[in-house]
Amino acid sequence: SQQGEEDPQALSIQEGENATMNCSYKTSINNLQWYRQNSGRGLVHLILIRSNEREKHSGRLRVTLDTSKKSSSLLITASRAADTASYFCATDRQGNLIFGKGTKLSVKP
């Protein structure tokens, strides 16, 4: 079963615009992670935010976590064509990661 649900399922933007993806989950967590998957490749870890953190930055990425709403958002600023990929949130449950279905981001040059 999948715990996290990303929204939107697909997002298409122009290069230079910002992209925001959201993730909702159902049960309490210790941490939430975001991963990127390019077509035909494995997943790449982007960022991990712990339950006692509210915001975290890494380069052009900004992640927020609202444990009261059981939701997280991933913001990619000044997007590039190379950011085209699927983005997954993952939450921990009993020592395992549970992934959502992902948001498919398309950045057009």
Partner: protein
């Protein structure tokens, strides 16, 4: 440092045939995971190893799937016999330490069962 290595990258077989996937994790990573990813979905855990012990195989269809990690390093996932519904990407990942911390994924094996 080498990443997680998987082979083969692609496999096409007929239903009822056996198939095996191999994974070599990042050196020093004691936790290894096998996931299955269906088209348009996120990865779903099949089995998690800590060293050579399978600590969570609750989602592994044990009637046809088996896995081993004999020396606590590389691992093999086997399907016998394969069914049409097994067509998917099989991903291996590893992490240092136990628990749901950062995982490092291999490129996956894309299986097509005809």
């Amino acid at each position: 440092e080498a990443g997680v290595v998987q082979s083969p990258r692609y496999k096409i077989i007929e239903k009822k045939q056996p198939v095996a996937f191999w994974c070599n994790p990042i050196s020093g990573h004691n936790t290894l995971y096998w996931y299955r990813q269906n088209l348009g979905q996120g990865p779903e855990l099949l089995i998690r190893y800590e060293n050579e012990e399978a600590v969570d195989d609750s989602q592994l269809p044990k009637d046809r799937f088996s896995a081993e990690r004999l020396k606590g390093v590389d691992s093999t996932l086997k399907i016998q016999p394969a069914e049409l519904g097994d067509s998917a990407v099989y991903l291996c990942a590893s992490s240092f330490g136990r628990g749901a911390e950062t995982q490092y994924f291999g490129p996956g094996t894309r299986l097509l069962v005809l």
